[in-house]
């Protein structure tokens, strides 16, 4: 059947397929943009199509590139690739999650999956993020360390600002309040530093948000460009 479908598509001229693809993409783009008017069935249709197609594509790709080749290895030479049999058995145990009396069997592969994943993520975060970032944060503030001169001073000031900003943001996560019986002037200073730290945090979040905004508008501009250039060319090339 798949071969038949492939032959069918092969028989269609490439230019027609390209035109059909362009029209399909343009219609789906317009369906998504119909959200401007409101939450319409057309928008929902496009959303369902996207989710369905992407899920189907992911399942097909996982079968063809991950599961089927390994299954072949297991079938051809089970003595050498017996470990794949173990992995397939664990995968099959995952499917018992939906069967009431057997649902407990799915705990074993889930535990393996989450345990190994969490361990790798934890070690990776510690060794790949925490240690290197702390190492970079510990830096000299002397201008001579940066080569001296105006550039050295500028870089030293930059490093100092980085250090101060880091400390202020750390202070913003300190929530202990000074009380009347325990005035603790250090705590008051810390809470005031935390206020400044929160402002710095807001600026950082604003930078992240502006980056997201630029990203989304770039995508939107790309879609509009597609509608104007590609779809426009397809419409202009039509013969009535």
């Amino acid at each position: 059947m798949l071969v038949g479908i492939q032959n069918l598509f092969a028989a269609i001229p490439a230019t027609y397929l390209h035109s059909v693809g362009t029209w399909l993409a343009a219609i789906l783009t317009l369906l998504v943009l119909s959200y401007i008017v409101g939450y319409m069935p057309l928008y929902r249709l496009a959303g369902h199509l996207f989710i369905g197609v992407s899920s189907g594509y992911a399942a097909g790709l996982a079968w063809h590139t991950v599961l089927w080749p390994r299954l072949q290895l297991l079938i051809v030479d089970p003595a050498q690739y017996w470990t794949y049999g173990l992995f397939f058995a664990l995968g099959l145990l995952l499917l018992t999650r939906g069967i009431g009396p057997l649902s407990g069997l799915a705990d074993l592969p889930m535990a393996l999956l989450f345990g190994v994943g969490a361990a790798l993520a934890l070690v990776g975060a510690a060794m790949g993020t925490l240690v290197p970032q702390v190492g970079v944060a510990i830096t000299s503030l002397a201008p001579s360390s940066f080569g001296g001169g105006a550039t050295g001073w500028a870089l030293a000031i930059d490093a100092a600002l980085l250090l101060i900003g880091t400390l202020l943001v750390f202070a913003s996560f300190h929530h202990t309040q000074a009380t009347e019986d325990r005035p603790a002037p250090g705590l008051r200073l810390l809470s005031r530093a935390g206020i400044v730290g929160r402002k710095i945090l807001l600026v950082a979040i604003g930078a992240l948000f502006s980056g997201a905004l630029i990203s989304f508008y770039t995508v939107l501009a790309g879609r509009i460009q597609f509608l104007i250039s590609d779809w426009g060319a397809a419409i202009a090339g039509m013969r009535f």
């Binding site: 401007i36 590139t65 790949g128 992240l208 509009i224």
Partner: protein, 469 residues
């Protein structure tokens, strides 16, 4: 302590079944609503589910059988020792009318109080002093038996005196008050406005539509602009470094490119990915593609088959699609240990789905450079964290995740870090290729101006209308 209604065994306060006969003890601490059957606290006046008055006579609710009234023994309340006259109020037969109305309470009270050793059974009540005298010389012996029952009957949050000590009128007042409170709509809006600042009023529908159309117009400006402003931007330091790295590669170089983005950011990252692949094709290096997401692999294959310039510049042996690398951290970790282990498919002639790894380095250190093109900071972080410290990938990311990855560039874990649209424009300018409409400076400037105006309109107008109101 809960007394079993069946065998009178004294069970633990939190027991659900009798330890002696196995009888369920749920009825001993709850009463059943005659209307909906829900279990309610024993001293509840209204059903928690349907707000039915639980104090109505059983005759009006025939679904719940009413037990025969039994004479209630005198109840000794340690907290009311001083008010002896009230506590010793005799349980005369004049009370059954009220006891019928409080059926649920009385049933449980019977179950819990019935098994108590009652020295005054069959006699007329003689008050507290008389009762204590009947108990013997140690009055605390009787009190210790009663106290746990009191705590079992009365819920902790109810500080009201026992119902026997309250008048009929008081209970009716309470019932009316509770009924009115339960039937009134909760004034949450006013309370929320006291706690939270008043929310900004929503924009009218027509204004939303106008602003959305303005945004669409702004997004279309790059495609329609005639090119008023001169020239693209000067390449940034990172883009220049990326370009110099790509330009310095020899024909025997091995490059691993990870497509870690989906179709939702394809418009942002496709141009720069295509420029990078074109540059690599011009250098004649061996390119290996992979992705940890199915969509990324699909985009890579679409680019290879859909780009005319790539098809012209690349030959089949120059590019190798390794495939999907599932498992995120686990998959990347496996790849870092052994490329062959991550894509161990070459031993079987698996037809069109097989991957030929004969020209692929067996270890990650065999690649000259690793290029990450991604839109998800978590996946990119996984690459950085799972990679050996000697690996310094070249990253091209969306503007959205760029700020989150700047620290890795500062720490040297990333060799270069560039934003997608900017890098595309700069690479186009540096390689003297044709500038796409998105790369036109005036188009982006116009987009920025319109977006800024829309943002001001969308934020100032509602505030102004709120103030005038």
């Amino acid at each position: 302590m809960i007394v079993c209604p069946n065998c009178q065994h004294h069970n633990h306060k939190q027991a659900t079944h009798c330890a002696q006969c196995g009888q369920p003890l749920a009825d001993a601490v709850h009463c059943v609503c005659p209307s909906c059957g829900a279990l309610n606290p024993i001293d509840g006046q209204f059903c928690q589910r349907c707000l039915t008055d639980l104090t109505v006579p059983v005759a009006q609710a025939p679904t719940v059988p009413r037990p025969e009234p039994t004479p209630e023994p005198p109840k000794v309340d340690s907290g009311k020792k001083e008010s002896a006259p009230q506590a010793q109020k005799p349980k005369t037969p004049e009370r059954p009318a009220r006891r019928k109305r409080r059926d649920c309470k009385d049933r449980s009270a019977q179950r819990e109080i019935a098994p108590l050793p009652d020295p005054a059974e069959g006699r007329e009540p003689k008050g507290l002093e008389g009762g204590l005298a009947e108990l013997g010389g140690d009055p605390l012996a009787g009190v210790t038996d009663v106290l746990p029952l009191e705590t079992a009957v009365a819920l902790p949050h109810r500080g009201a005196p026992p119902s026997e000590l309250r008048s009929e009128h008081e209970e009716q007042e309470d019932a009316h008050l509770f009924s009115s409170l339960a039937s009134e709509p909760a004034p949450l809006t006013a309370a929320a406005q006291q706690v939270l600042p008043p929310l900004r009023s929503k924009l009218p529908r027509w204004l939303k539509l106008v602003l959305s159309l303005l945004l669409l117009l702004a997004a279309g400006v790059p495609s329609l602009s005639p090119g008023w402003l001169p020239g693209p931007l000067t390449p940034s330091a990172d883009t220049s470094k990326l370009l110099s790295v790509l330009s310095s590669l020899g024909s025997d170089a091995q490059i691993l490119v990870a497509f870690e983005y989906g179709p939702d950011h394809a418009a942002e990252l496709d141009p720069v990915a295509e420029r990078i692949l074109e540059q690599l094709a011009d250098q004649g290096v061996q390119i290996h593609l992979l992705s940890t997401e199915p969509a990324g692999l699909g985009l890579a294959q679409r680019m290879l088959h859909g780009s005319d310039s790539l098809q012209m510049g690349l030959d089949d042996e120059q590019i190798q699609v390794l495939g999907l690398l599932p498992g995120r951290e686990i998959g990347i970790r496996t790849l870092m240990r052994s490329v062959e282990g991550a894509f161990r498919l070459q031993t079987v002639a698996s037809g069109p789905h097989g991957t030929d790894l004969t020209h692929t380095p067996t270890r990650i250190s065999g690649f000259d450079h690793v290029i990450l093109v991604g839109d998800d900071s978590r996946i990119l972080r996984a690459w950085i964290e799972q990679a050996p410290s000697t690996l310094h990938p070249l990253a091209v990311v969306t503007a959205q995740v760029y700020p989150a990855l700047v620290p890795y560039k500062a720490s040297g874990q990333l060799s270069t870090l560039t934003q997608g649209p900017t890098a595309a424009i700069e690479l186009q300018a540096s390689t003297s290729r044709q500038i796409t409409p998105l790369g036109a400076t005036d188009g982006l400037a116009a987009l920025f101006v319109v977006v800024l105006c829309v943002a001001i309109l969308a934020n100032v107008l509602p505030t102004k209308s709120n103030n005038t109101r």
